[in-house]
């Protein structure tokens, strides 16, 4: 006996074409967004530019030298004369404005290497403006310059460094030693 059999399979709901359509739409949308954003900010308005040669600008400096160096070690102070009420004085020290602006020079507090020592406590260090350096007479208290020293560009001024041992310095400071520095501040003025 023969038998004929057949089967029919209905087509499945077609999903693939819909996916392709959506993919295509997505690609176009992305391309449009990219194309628009590539021109972002300008939207093709006109612009023009020209180059001008304005050369260059260089800044100056503020500079002060002490006997032609930025930090000067004072030599040759005769410490044998540093007795109670007496002074030891340096030679003439030249301050020079080597910058591009006028400067105003002021004195900062003296800095001792051992500020708590008895010698430092009994020592008075001054820097005064003078053309020749003489010891301040006994009985007269030496003093530093008060008004700022104003130097124009290239101008110089001379000063003297004097260290005086207090008149009431105790005997225990005999043969003691200390080192100190005298900072100078130079500030630009117009």
């Amino acid at each position: 006996m023969r038998k004929i059999t057949a089967s029919v399979t209905p087509p499945r709901a077609s999903v693939a074409p819909l996916r392709r359509i959506l993919t295509t739409v997505g690609i176009f949308a992305t391309a449009i967004v990219l194309a628009t954003s590539a021109a972002g900010g300008t939207y093709a308005v006109w612009n023009s530019r020209t180059i001008v040669n304005a050369s260059s600008i260089t800044s100056g400096s503020t500079a002060l030298t002490i006997n032609d160096v930025s930090s000067y070690a004072v030599p040759g102070m005769d410490n044998s004369k540093l007795l109670p009420g007496r002074s030891s004085v340096s030679g003439v020290i030249t301050l020079k404005n080597t910058g591009y602006t006028p400067i105003s020079i002021t004195l900062a507090p003296v800095v001792f290497s051992d500020p708590s020592s008895l010698l430092a406590a009994n020592l008075t260090v001054v820097l005064r403006q003078a053309t020749t350096c003489e010891v301040t007479p006994f009985g007269t208290t030496p003093s530093s310059f008060v008004a700022p020293i104003v130097l124009a560009k290239g101008q110089t001024a001379t000063v003297c460094l004097e260290a005086r041992l207090g008149v009431n310095a105790p005997a225990s400071v005999q043969a003691a030693s200390t080192s100190f520095s005298v900072p100078l501040n130079a500030r630009q003025v117009r």
Partner: protein
């Protein structure tokens, strides 16, 4: 007639009707030309007119020309002015453009001092000319269109404020630095 015959007749009649109109569509038509003139585009260009000049315009100084800016040493409190004449062509009925400079074309030389100098310099731009206006609040310079070339005087001021060096640790900042304006770019950007 059976249905088959009726259908054949109707189809033949329809085809005949379609063929009757084919090829001619002989409806009347006519045309006329109008003179709509021509549409011309506008122009927006900027060009230098001669070399620029420098001047010291510091507040505490009498304004003085600086013959050689490369020899000048700028210090805090200085305000310098660079004047450059330019020609602007801005045509277009609805055209508006902004005039400005490109900060990126101010270039510091090598070294920290130069970088510091560039960061401390205050650069501004002003311009005068027919149809050139400056917004008092924003400083934006607008150029209006004109049929003729617009001569514009551009002034670029470069200031190192007197406060430079006041900050702790900056007492010597920007000293001996150098900043180049050799390729300073002035630009016109259409805004409308």
């Amino acid at each position: 007639m059976n249905k088959l015959v009726k259908g054949a007749v109707a189809t033949a009649a329809g085809v005949a009707l379609l063929m009757g109109g084919a090829g001619t569509f002989a409806l009347w038509n006519t045309s006329a030309s109008v003179s709509a003139g021509a549409v011309a585009s506008g122009t927006l260009t900027i060009a230098t007119n001669g070399a620029g000049t420098w001047k010291d315009i510091s507040a505490d100084r009498t304004a003085t020309a600086i013959p050689t800016i490369s020899s000048w040493k700028i210090v805090p409190g200085d305000k310098l002015e660079f004047t450059q004449n330019i020609n602007v062509v801005a045509t277009g009925n609805n055209l508006l453009a902004n005039l400005s400079y490109d900060p990126a074309t101010i270039v510091a030389a090598t070294g920290q001092a130069s970088l510091d100098l560039k960061s401390k310099l205050v650069v501004t731009i002003t311009a005068t000319g027919t149809g050139v206006t400056t917004n008092a609040t924003t400083g934006v310079i607008t150029v209006a269109p004109s049929a003729a070339t617009i001569p514009v005087a551009v002034k670029v001021t470069v200031e190192l404020p007197s406060t430079v060096g006041d900050a702790v640790g900056e007492s010597s900042i920007a000293q001996n630095g150098s900043v180049s304006l050799a390729t300073l770019s002035l630009k016109l950007n259409q805004t409308r």
